[in-house]
């Protein structure tokens, strides 16, 4: 069992039943046992959220992500303003430039195109920064020792940090999706959606699918968030942890493109990332989406446990 995690029954302060107590009792400060609010973990989580999202850096990351659809939208608008059509790959294949051709017909496709464009690089980089800095940044600044003597509890602090990182994953994805929806609606017509299978669904149904896809994209980052948090527990330098995590994202993406390594491809966390396009088929094609979610779950479990094992046994001497 790791240290600092032995909860006294009831979790209270100085238990009067303890044989050697009496120490401070003589001092009579009367500060005896204070009850623990059952909701306090939530308080720590909320504090974690506000500190993350009030940070200038976090807002800048979200701003950059929200700017991507604006750039894509404007570029397509300019390119097609002379009546030409967008080049690039078709919607099948699920590659990077997917959905681009559809945008001029239906602004909703900007959401899918922007998510497909940001998922391989921008989104994981942003998550790598937040997750990598989560523990290491606090260790670097020395604030970690004061959180731990507060005492936040190592497991709870780690959980709160992981939960806040997941909220950031969702916020980052929504920044892209919402910005894309707004830009798409402003620059292009909206209307019924033609699925990849060729059938047509109503705009309302298309919107529901956009929400579903955004959630799946956010969930695609769960594994990476755990990996980044683990890296973050290994060092006392926030910069090093961020760089390592982002470097890992890039390395793994490269490995995923080397055909000779196809044997390990199904185990790489970004391998099924672009499978979200399958949710634009009629009917849904779930197989790869579920494989993706399963893989993220495995990564979260493995690296989450590793982060816990490391963090609860770590000497905090920074």
């Amino acid at each position: 069992m790791s240290r600092a995690e032995v909860l006294e029954p009831g979790g209270g302060g100085g238990d009067p039943a303890d044989g050697r107590r009496g120490a401070g009792a003589g001092a009579g400060a009367g500060a005896g046992t204070r009850p623990v609010s059952p909701l306090w973990t939530f308080g720590l989580f909320r504090s974690e959220l506000t500190t993350t999202f009030r940070r200038w850096r976090t807002l800048a990351l979200l701003g950059v992500l929200a700017a991507v659809p604006v750039l894509i939208g404007i570029a397509i608008k300019i390119e097609t303003s002379d009546g030409g059509s967008v080049g690039g790959g078709g919607p099948e294949g699920g590659g990077g430039p997917a959905f681009l051709t559809q945008i001029t017909n239906n602004g909703l496709f900007l959401v899918f195109a922007a998510l497909a464009a940001t998922l391989p690089v921008f989104l994981p980089m942003a998550v790598g920064v937040i997750a990598g800095d989560a523990v290491a940044g606090e260790a670097n600044g020395g604030t970690l020792r004061y959180l731990l003597v507060a005492p936040a509890g190592r497991t709870r602090l780690l959980l709160a940090k992981y939960a806040a990182t997941l909220v950031f994953c969702l916020a980052a994805t929504l920044a892209v999706a919402v910005s894309a929806l707004i830009v798409g609606a402003l620059l292009f017509p909206l209307g019924d959606v033609t699925t990849i299978s060729g059938t047509t669904i109503s705009f309302g149904d298309g919107l529901v699918r956009a929400v579903l896809i955004a959630l799946v994209v956010a969930a695609s980052l769960i594994g990476l968030a755990a990996l980044g948090l683990f890296v973050s527990t290994l060092t006392n330098s926030g910069i090093a942890a961020m760089a390592t995590t982002v470097g890992l994202v890039i390395t793994v993406q490269i490995l995923d493109t080397i055909p000779q390594l196809h044997g390990i491809h199904p185990y790489l966390f970004p391998h099924y990332w672009l499978s979200f396009a399958d949710l634009l088929r009629e009917p849904f094609y779930w197989d790869d989406v579920l494989r993706n979610l399963g893989l993220q779950g495995v990564y979260a479990a493995v690296f989450g446990s590793a982060a816990w094992a490391r963090f609860t046994a770590k000497d905090i001497s920074a």
Binding site: A4, E8, G12, R20, G43, G142, R145, Y146, V149, S317
Partner: protein, 316 residues
């Protein structure tokens, strides 16, 4: 005597082999203001880290408020306020929000009284006016004060302060000393490390001295200072005669510097310690003119230097 901090054979060897604390047996009585002294690198901060459960001892045990650390951290630490190796703040948050953050990390802190307690803590360290300023714009002393405020967010049974007056202006130091006395008066035990010996002498009831990771001595401040004998000092226009007479009267280690003659009052096992009054009478009988006569009480600084040596270099 109840003890608030008790260590037995506490030892820490850092990764890399540095033996920072070596078989430390410390006992801090309840209600005391305990000064923790030692040259740079003697292991004070390392000891405090072990007491606070931040690092695992290599050997030995540490008990705080009667419970073993770091196992009982979650029960013990809410009753302990700590300032460890200087303050650490979120530069992008203002002073008030920094305290709110630290308070919300404490499971026993009531969220309903949080704002009031934060305001009270700011008031106590004189930061009310600067509470809305970003912490990265704080001066060293202001950061130190905010760090102290974080330790005072709740009523505490024990305060552990690692060099609390570091970076403070003279008024700030006086205020901190007053604060420590006030808290001690309320029954809080204060464990404070410092290099400022007269500061320790002014506020502490007890003290311990460390060097190279080892405990050299611990006890009440009066005992420690008494361990070093006081010196007799005579100012006279006839120093040579005075020195001769004092030697005859049993004063040892007599030295002459200008018109000042000083010597060690013998406190030998068999003989009675020389009575300063008798010595003075002896000088006058011998026709030695005396301008000033007195026994200089040994200061804690003398005791400290006697224990840890004069050398300036930090032990490797």
């Amino acid at each position: 005597m109840t003890v608030v901090i008790e260590t037995r054979g506490l030892t820490k060897r850092y990764r890399g082999g540095q033996l920072a604390v070596d078989r430390l047996d410390l006992a801090v009585p309840a209600g005391s203001v305990f000064g923790f002294l030692g040259p740079n690198g003697s292991g004070k901060t390392t000891t405090i880290r072990m007491l606070m459960g931040l690092i695992e001892p290599t050997a030995g045990t540490a008990a705080v408020l009667g419970r073993t650390m770091p196992r009982a951290a979650r029960a013990v630490l809410p009753q302990v306020g700590a300032l460890i190796e200087g303050p650490a703040l979120y530069g992008y948050l203002n002073g008030r929000d920094n305290l709110l953050r630290y308070d919300s990390a404490d499971p026993t802190a009531d969220p309903r009284t949080r704002r009031a307690r934060v305001a009270e803590a700011l008031e106590r360290v004189g930061l009310t006016a600067a509470g809305g300023k970003k912490a990265k714009a704080y001066s060293l002393g202001m950061k130190q004060r905010l760090g102290l405020a974080a330790a005072l967010l709740q009523p505490r049974r024990l305060l552990v302060l690692d060099e609390p007056t570091n970076g403070l202006d003279p008024q700030g130091m006086r205020e901190i000393r007053a604060l420590v006395r006030e808290l001690a008066g309320e029954g809080t035990t204060v464990f404070l490390s410092s290099h400022l010996l007269d500061e320790i002498e002014q506020v502490c009831t007890h003290a311990a001295v460390m060097a190279r990771g080892r405990l050299l001595t611990q006890g009440t401040v009066a005992e420690l200072a008494a361990g070093t004998r006081g010196r007799l000092a005579v100012t006279t226009p006839d120093p040579a005669d005075a020195a001769r007479v004092l030697k005859e009267l049993g004063v040892t280690d007599v030295t002459v510097a200008g018109d000042r003659v000083s010597g060690e009052l013998a406190v030998s096992g068999e003989g009675e310690p020389a009575d300063p009054a008798e010595l003075n009478a002896g000088l006058v009988r011998a026709g030695v003119r005396v301008r000033a006569f007195g026994v200089e009480r040994a200061s804690l600084e003398d005791a400290f230097v006697a224990l840890t040596g004069e050398g300036f270099d930090v032990a490797g």
